[in-house]
Chain length 358, copies 2
């Protein structure tokens, strides 16, 4: 087992990475407050891992909340089911919520924990590659709104993250590939060595070789840990973690949540950010092609859906958390391995990127 530490003073916590961790209940026990534990999971994950988790929680009064599976259920309305379950079980302010699932479950359980009785303890057990390398770490929680992704939420840190790599064995390929998108992201924004490694070892990763998985999860968590520790509430550098996300969120919202996987939309978004960076003279054609080729190696899409025309795409992008006083800001690449947040692009250049991507 590897431990990566997230350093946030009194909100610091460990990420445990390894195989067979679900069975090691002492890891959880150290981070559970009180005697009441609510496990928030979904219909896909519950039959696979819920019993195993419950086995390690014998001493606690446990409640289960099983939500439908998919980004389209990441809503305030479905979140109500968590509150209903907690209150029906008369769970107190000293209860602990455990998210057992992918990014959607982690975001929803985390937001529920942030709000229930104005804040209760929270543990992340990510079961997808995307959640293990990105969304379970750093405290971003929330739900979608029909008009925009992740528009309602909170910064709320977990007490620990337990990434059991065994859970990746049941992941379908599309989910695995979507997770790789966020790993490529770390390479592009700040970790050229990781980028090169991915180019050379993509086959091992696609074959789910355990050493390859462990390497990318640990490396991704280290990258995320450094950024989050430097800027917990995204007033600066943390925004670079959103490379491809403004484009990607437009695709997810525009196509209807759940149609595209988050990682797929982010992959296209990163290709678009590379394209825009090239138009600004920052990346060469060779470098952009290197980005596209790596995304393709990971079986990820690089072109935006025809169903969203350029005008609609721009409209969808206007609702983004990085907009300041009407100015859209995007994460772009000064060079491979070096991301910046910039509003220094002419509208017609952004339009050209959108048109070129379709």
């Amino acid at each position: 087992m590897i431990t990566v530490a997230i350093d946030l003073q009194e909100r610091s916590y460990p990420i445990y990475i390894g195989c067979g961790l679900l069975a090691q209940s002492h890891l959880l026990a150290a981070h559970i407050t009180g005697s009441e534990v609510a496990i928030v999971t979904n219909e896909t994950i519950a039959p696979l891992y819920l019993d195993q988790l419950l086995k390690g929680l014998k001493g606690y009064r446990c409640a289960e909340v099983i939500l439908p599976d998919g980004e389209q259920y990441k809503t305030l309305e479905i979140l109500t089911q968590v509150f209903d379950a907690l209150l029906t079980a008369t769970f107190s302010r000293r209860c602990t919520l455990i998210a057992l699932g992918g990014g959607v479950i982690g975001d929803m359980a985390g937001f529920a924990a942030a709000c229930y009785q104005r804040g209760v303890a929270f543990i992340q057990i990510p079961t997808t590659l995307l959640a293990q390398v990105d969304s379970s770490v750093g405290g971003k929680t929330g739900v979608n709104h029909p008009l925009g992704k992740n528009m309602i939420g909170a910064f709320y840190q977990p007490r620990c993250v337990l990434a059991d790599t065994d859970t990746l064995n049941t992941l379908d390929d599309r989910q695995l590939w979507a997770g790789i998108a966020e790993i490529i992201k770390y390479g592009l924004i700040r970790d050229l060595e990781l980028l090169t490694w991915l180019e050379q070892h993509m086959d091992q990763l696609l074959a789910r070789e355990s050493s390859a998985l462990r390497y990318v999860i640990e490396r991704s968590c280290h990258n995320k840990a450094e950024i989050v520790a430097a800027d917990e509430r995204e007033s600066g550098i943390r925004a670079t973690l959103n490379l491809g996300h403004t484009f990607g969120h437009a695709i997810e919202t525009g196509m209807g949540y759940g149609t595209w996987l988050h990682g797929e939309a982010v992959a296209v978004g990163m290709a678009m950010a590379a394209d825009l960076s090239q138009r600004l003279g920052w990346l060469s054609t060779t470098e952009v092609n290197r980005v596209i080729r790596l995304l393709e190696q990971a079986r990820l899409p690089t072109r935006a859906p025809q169903a969203i025309d350029a005008a609609r795409f721009l409209e969808l992008m206007a609702v983004d958390k990085k907009v300041i006083d009407g100015q859209l800001r995007l994460v772009l690449l000064k060079e491979l391995g070096h991301a910046v947040v910039s509003n220094d692009f002419a509208p017609h250049i952004l339009e050209a990127t959108i048109k070129n991507a379709r």
Copy 2:
């Protein structure tokens, strides 16, 4: 104008108290971030004060969210209307939410501000006595759940509180009296001088004499400021501010939100807390009668509704944020002016208090 400071390090803020403050737009301007302002108010307050407020906000892009009036609308479902309005107006993370109204509006607007894009700036303009002396100060925000009051929310501090005492002129008597309940609360838990003052000056307060109003608002805010500064997130002393509230919440939830005013339910709750404190040998009969008499002077109820029987009352009380590991804790009075949080009472004594109150 009087200014009371809430000292919470980087979250510190001023409470401005005085007449004619709504017209003094520079007070707000100093605390507004960005160029977008959303005013959250209700159907009762909007016709009275919205135009006046908007007049001072000419330089900003303003949105208005007018919610229905009453505790029964303090729900996640109605809260959605605020998010809908903010996103329809494409308001960014740099927008400012202003709560213009009583406790319900303040709690909802504050919670919306805590969650919108994971947190935007927030200003309280309380227009009821209860909100001016209590709920607008200290950062408790949230909504009700059918199974329990204020069960979903956040600690989220405003940038400033602007208490314009002129707005109390349009308050109906029942609302005025309900506000006095929370002022009596400060007297009972920590401010005997205020308690004595209230006994001697209740007529002036009921007649809304401006000097009397200003005195109780300032004194209440000072009391609240000291407690909140010492214990922002209610891990200790802040819980004493909930004197009468566990009983009161049971009445509000049991009778259906909006049937009883919050202050009315708290008044009965304080009478019950005094009764229980007497049963524990802490208060004398004379002291309990003093509490009852003061509540009656303020035209407040002191007896619980017949419609909730004792068993149901206990069940409703079991869902309370002060419950720890199944143990109900109550704010009780060691003596007048000295509150404690205690679980040191036999179940039959609590039952006797409930039965006696009906």
